[in-house]
């Protein structure tokens, strides 16, 4: 099985790019691959706990928790980007990590494929 590193800058609401990235990660994890999922910029919105499900908006928390439970999925937010937006360590959902940007580049080292989704 392989390792996929996905990096994204896109916001949770206002773009479907983050949804696509999560769906792709889910498909890879279901096939047994390992996935490192990096959130920078507006994507760090995903690393805020307490999000509610409404039919008009994306709700990805449940999918992410299911992926984390497999042990093949790692989700990490850019600490500086999160702090700049007022998301602190205590705001992070269980199982999420916060690291500096070099963690993402290090993750690409062992990755078989890297999918980088820039901001919109």
């Amino acid at each position: 099985m392989g390792k996929l590193t996905i990096g994204t800058f896109s916001s949770l609401v206002g773009s479907m790019s983050l949804d696509f990235a999560v769906k792709l990660a889910e498909a890879a994890v279901k096939k047994g691959h390992n996935v490192d999922f990096w959130m920078s910029g507006n994507a760090t919105m995903l690393a805020k706990k307490g999000q509610k499900a409404f039919k008009d908006y994306s709700f990805l928390s449940k999918t992410l928790q299911e992926m984390l439970a497999t042990g093949n999925f790692n989700i990490t937010a850019c600490e500086a980007c999160a702090e700049a937006r007022g998301y602190h360590k205590e705001d992070c959902p269980e199982g999420f990590q916060r690291k500096s940007m070099d963690w993402y580049l290090a993750s690409t080292f062992e990755a078989d494929r890297v999918l980088h989704i820039g901001g919109d």
């Binding site: 910029g41 580049l105 993750s107 080292f109 820039g118």
Partner: protein, 137 residues
């Protein structure tokens, strides 16, 4: 012991979104990536500016004055203080009527010895072809 080449390709306008700034800061972070890797392993980043992305390396940006934030010009200078290959697409500069005089080409004032390179897109294509991973921003 291995090296992985990452090619950051900046094609978005400065300030309109955060994407180009994040490309620069992520590329710069390659300098400290070793703390996560085994001894001898390396991640080597290059940064190429294409399309609208060439505006990120314009001189005399006033983001501090108008937005109260650091300029992409400053980050571009920082890339030249490091061991990063910096490529700027000549065809796109021509398209916008920009020349070397308009751009951050070095960081001499900060003691850097790297230079940015204005090259044809075919050179940037070669850089992308030799990279292990591409990161479009």
């Amino acid at each position: 012991m291995a090296t992985r080449k990452l090619a950051f390709v900046v094609r978005s306008l400065p300030y309109k979104t955060e994407a180009s700034r994040l490309a620069l800061t992520h590329a710069i972070s390659s300098q400290t990536v070793e703390i996560y890797l085994n001894d001898g392993d390396l991640v080597e980043a290059s940064i190429s500016y294409v399309g609208d992305g060439v505006f990120n390396v314009m001189k005399n940006q006033q983001a501090g004055k108008h937005y109260g934030i650091t300029t992409n010009e400053g980050h571009a200078k920082n890339t030249l203080l490091l061991d990063l290959k910096v490529l700027i697409c000549k065809e796109d500069l021509d398209k916008f009527g920009l020349t070397e005089e308009n751009l951050v080409m070095d960081a001499d004032d900060l003691g850097g010895d790297m230079k940015a390179n204005i090259v044809s897109y075919s050179e940037i294509q070669k850089e992308m072809e030799t990279a292990d991973h591409l990161l479009f921003c």
